[in-house]
């Protein structure tokens, strides 16, 4: 199944038999997935198919009714978002969740401060080593020039990049990108994803990204997992997954 | 048994007074989403205006029973003159801003009105106690109660029914309800939200002023009257639920009875009994007993 995974290491993420209902709606039914180190897995599916539910269960926003989730072999089912973040799962948001009144640099420093190792009543937030690391990461995302600007003054595309950069600050084990190119104009999508993916390559980061744009999926995913009606209906390399009959019928709409 | 009746009667009369005063506060919050600290100031202005109107009526040789009309007119005058002025110049520039910011704006308004009343009416107390004797005394059991207090109960009921009827049975009231539910949707449906705001604010101020006007014969009308009223109205409205009219009634009853109980059985608790109830409600059911808005609790 995960032919591209590095089979020498344990899977970064192991989700098994995840179930979730909301009242009478089955949002997730027997979802299982294993992701190896360095994989770039795209989660596709139409709205309401279960991708968001899956992501929310992985990040601790909701608790699965049944099933288990493990990060590097360690069970994280039912933990709070905060605890899961500390174990190494980071996420970005479809609508960028930033501190709009603070500067770009301050947002990066917030990410460092929240992670806790340097949390103190005395230690300055703006110390040289923290700033240096933050600016290095901003540089990889092409945001170095904006570091002194207030977020509320910045355009959407820049905010998206910052949102992702913040998630990367504390070197997570697993990064979840929630629709990274949604709301980004057509001509900016590829340059943006180029920047993001290159930065992630340098870290050999394991990434799951929810995406609706199949061009983006084909170009950047090493593996595609398709959702429909609360189930995973395909899990393969992009070419194979996108040629799958069910995927074509229920996700990409290229089969009547 | 007698004491129980006394507690009940005192509680209900106090609750009636509270209801008349707090109703306006909850209405203004429900429609404009403003928790108006200056509500007590409008109460005070109503009391002062009533003192003036009753004096004028007396000077013009009207019969004593006309003093009630004088008080009503005073309340109307306050609402008609002061409300539009305050709403337009002081509140309108801040609509849509953070709810706590708006509270601060009304705090500024409270400070301003405190001095405005001093400038208009001076610092010496006014006494207009004649109307208090209008309804004579009522004997229940061994206790003698002032008829005026029961008049207040009647007014509270009338006001409550009138506001309920006005909101639920008239066309204008339905527009107000629409704005309470969602200002954005109502506005996009063509409702003149500005007018609704003005109307709701006007009614709210009228009720505050009416409360003050009707209370004028019972107290010495002087600077500082507003301060105690504000805080107890807040308690009533928080307990009943911000923006809820039945809530204001229930809240008033709870506060009225709690205070009455304390006064008669444990005077040491008289003052803080109200605020303890307010704090407890906030801790366990912050949206109040009648849910109207979701409390921002994490």
């Amino acid at each position: 199944m995960s032919a591209l995974a590095d089979t020498r290491n344990a899977p970064v993420l192991q989700a098994a038999g995840l179930q979730k209902r909301f009242g009478s709606v089955v949002a997730a039914s027997d979802m299982s997935l294993e992701v190896g180190h360095g994989e770039r897995v795209s989660l596709i599916g139409s709205n309401g198919a279960g991708k968001t539910t899956f992501v929310n269960m992985i990040t601790g926003y909701i608790r699965p009714d049944a099933g288990s989730i493990a990060l590097d072999g360690r069970a994280i089912t039912g933990m709070t978002p905060r605890a899961i973040t500390h174990l190494g799962v980071a996420r970005s948001f479809q609508i960028p969740q930033l501190c709009a009144g603070l500067t770009v640099l301050d947002n990066m420093l917030v990410a460092t401060a929240c992670h806790g190792r340097s949390l103190s009543f005395l230690r300055p937030a703006h110390r040289a080593d923290a700033i240096e690391r933050a600016e290095a990461l901003l540089k990889r995302f092409g945001l170095a020039a904006q570091s002194g600007r207030r977020v509320s003054e910045l355009p959407g595309g820049v905010r998206k990049l910052l949102d992702i950069a913040m998630a990367l600050t504390e070197q997570p084990r697993l990064l979840l990108l929630d629709e990274p190119t949604s709301g980004v104009s057509v001509e900016e999508k590829f340059p943006m994803m180029d920047t993001v993916m290159q930065a992630l390559e340098e870290e050999a980061m394991t990434v799951l990204f929810v995406e609706h744009d199949m061009d983006i999926v084909e170009r950047y995913a090493s593996r595609v997992v398709a959702f429909y009606s609360g189930r995973i209906i395909a899990d393969a390399a992009p070419a194979d997954a996108l040629a799958n009959e069910e995927v074509r019928r229920y996700v990409t709409g290229t089969l009547r | 048994m007698n004491q129980l009746i006394t507690i009940l009667i005192d509680g209900i009369t106090y609750a009636s007074w509270l209801f008349i005063v707090a109703l306006g506060l909850t209405l203004v919050f429900g429609v404009l989403k403003i928790l108006n600290i200056a509500h007590g100031s409008f109460y005070a202005v109503g009391a002062y205006a009533a003192a003036s109107f009753v004096s004028w009526f007396g000077a013009m040789q009207f019969a004593p029973s006309w003093s009630l009309v004088a008080m009503l007119l005073a309340a109307v005058a306050v609402a008609a003159l002061v409300a539009p002025l305050c709403e337009r110049s002081l509140l309108r520039p801040f609509y849509g801003r953070d709810e706590v910011l708006l509270v601060l704006v009304t705090y500024a308004l409270f400070l301003i009105l405190e001095d405005v009343t001093k400038l208009i009416w001076g610092v010496n107390p006014y006494y207009v106690t004649d109307p208090y004797a209008l309804f004579g005394n009522v004997d229940i059991g061994e206790q003698s109660y002032v008829g005026y207090d029961f008049m207040l109960v009647a007014v509270a009921v009338v006001v409550g029914v009138a506001v309920w009827w006005g909101l639920n049975r008239t066309r204008q009231g339905k527009l107000v309800l629409a704005v309470i539910h969602s200002e954005e949707v109502a506005s996009s449906m063509g409702v003149n939200v500005s007018r609704v705001y003005m109307l709701a604010f006007g009614v709210g101020i009228f009720l505050a002023a009416l409360g003050g006007a009707l209370t004028a014969p019972m107290i010495s009308v002087q600077p500082g009257v507003s301060v105690g009223v504000i805080i107890v109205s807040f308690a009533v409205v928080i307990i009943g639920g911000l923006g809820s009219i039945p809530g204001a009634a229930i809240g008033a009853l709870i506060v009225g009875l709690a205070r009455s109980l304390a006064v008669h059985t444990a005077p040491v608790a008289e003052l803080f009994s109200v605020y303890i109830v307010m704090a407890v409600v906030l801790m366990f059911r912050p949206e109040g007993l009648f849910q109207r808005i979701q409390a921002r609790k994490i």
């Binding site: 009144g101 913040m166 | 400070l111 301060v227 609790k297």
Partner: protein
């Protein structure tokens, strides 16, 4: 090239914070020393005014601490009263007369009380946080008024404090209290500045902006708000104790809502960017209050009210935003 533009556009904010810190602290200490020294030359009414400005300023500083994580407390009167009554009772009942001792005791008692309710209170925001803090301060007021053991609604007086075992002649006690108040307030103000610039301080600002993101970055919103609540209580308690020592009298009005309102007024006027601004705003209020009874007894509240409206309308970031924090775009609906 990317590299050069990055180095050329180094954010001024970061370098200012990083390099400027020891300088700011030094400047602060010099200012405190100057004020204490100058106090010996100033007329008594002025040193008293400044003493009140500083002790009240501490209470407002507590509100600013909470504003920085997104909530406004309408009940600082509670900790102000707790601190004041603690100091006065220590003096009268236990014979503790040391000014510093009483001040710190006041702060500790207030902080302990806050600790009891901190976790609960940290779950509230907006109007409900304001109302709950208000309710608690009014509960304390109600209790104090009816407790004859502490003087009931009249309160009680306390005598002159001492410092480090030294009792001073009546003529000098005013200056002693001035020095202690300015010194202690100054040190606490500098400590507040250090806290604001710390990693926890930054997390507080982030909580104000986006609680969700803070949780998803691994931060604890509840911890941040609770910690700020306790710190604000300590500052308020110390302020209350210092006030009582100079005033010589305490009564339940310390906990009344109008008292809390005045502290909020100063905090809003000052904004949350500059610690110095809080004390400047507090001094302005004391000046207006002092001269009001002589010159404009019936219009000073009117002036304050208009002042507040103008500040909210035209300087939403407070006085402090004039030199620290820059222009605040009201992207979050203009929260104070």
């Amino acid at each position: 090239m990317q590299a050069t533009s990055a180095t050329l556009d180094k954010p001024a904010l970061a370098t200012r914070h990083g390099a400027g810190r020891p300088r700011t602290l030094l400047a602060g200490l010099v200012l405190i020393a100057l004020l204490i020294g100058a106090g010996a030359l100033l007329p008594k009414w002025l040193t008293f005014l400044l003493t009140m400005a500083a002790s009240h300023g501490l209470v407002s500083l507590g509100i600013v601490v909470l504003m920085r994580c997104g909530v406004v407390s309408f009940g600082q009167g509670m900790v102000f009263a707790l601190g004041g009554y603690t100091a006065a009772l220590l003096f009268n009942r236990l014979g503790m007369t040391d000014a510093l001792g009483m001040a710190l005791a006041g702060g500790l008692v207030a902080a302990l009380a806050a600790l009891l309710v901190a976790r609960l209170i940290a779950g509230y925001r907006g109007i409900f946080f304001a109302m709950l803090t208000l309710a608690l301060s009014m509960v304390l007021y109600g209790v104090l008024v009816k407790t004859d053991a502490v003087g009931g609604s009249d309160g009680f007086n306390m005598g002159r404090a001492t410092l480090l075992g030294q009792a001073l002649p009546d003529a000098s006690v005013g200056y002693l209290l001035y020095a202690v108040t300015i010194g202690l307030s100054g040190v606490l103000a500098l400590a507040a500045r250090v806290y604001f610039d710390s990693t926890r301080g930054l997390v507080s600002l982030a909580v104000r902006e986006n609680e969700l993101r803070v949780e998803y970055l691994g931060g604890s919103v509840r911890q941040a708000v609770a910690a700020n609540f306790v710190i604000a209580a300590f500052l308020g308690g110390v302020g209350g104790a210092l006030t009582v020592m100079s005033l010589g009298h305490i009564d339940p009005n310390f906990s009344y809502w109008t008292s809390s309102g005045e502290f909020v007024f100063v905090a809003i006027l000052a904004g949350y960017h500059s610690v110095l601004a809080v004390f400047i705003a507090s001094t302005l209020l004391e000046i207006v209050r002092s001269f009001s009874s002589l010159y404009f007894p019936n219009t000073w509240q009117l002036a304050l009210g208009i002042f507040l409206l103008l500040a909210i309308r035209f300087l939403p970031g407070g006085i402090g935003s004039l030199w620290a924090g820059g222009k605040i775009k009201t992207s979050n609906g203009g929260r104070p």
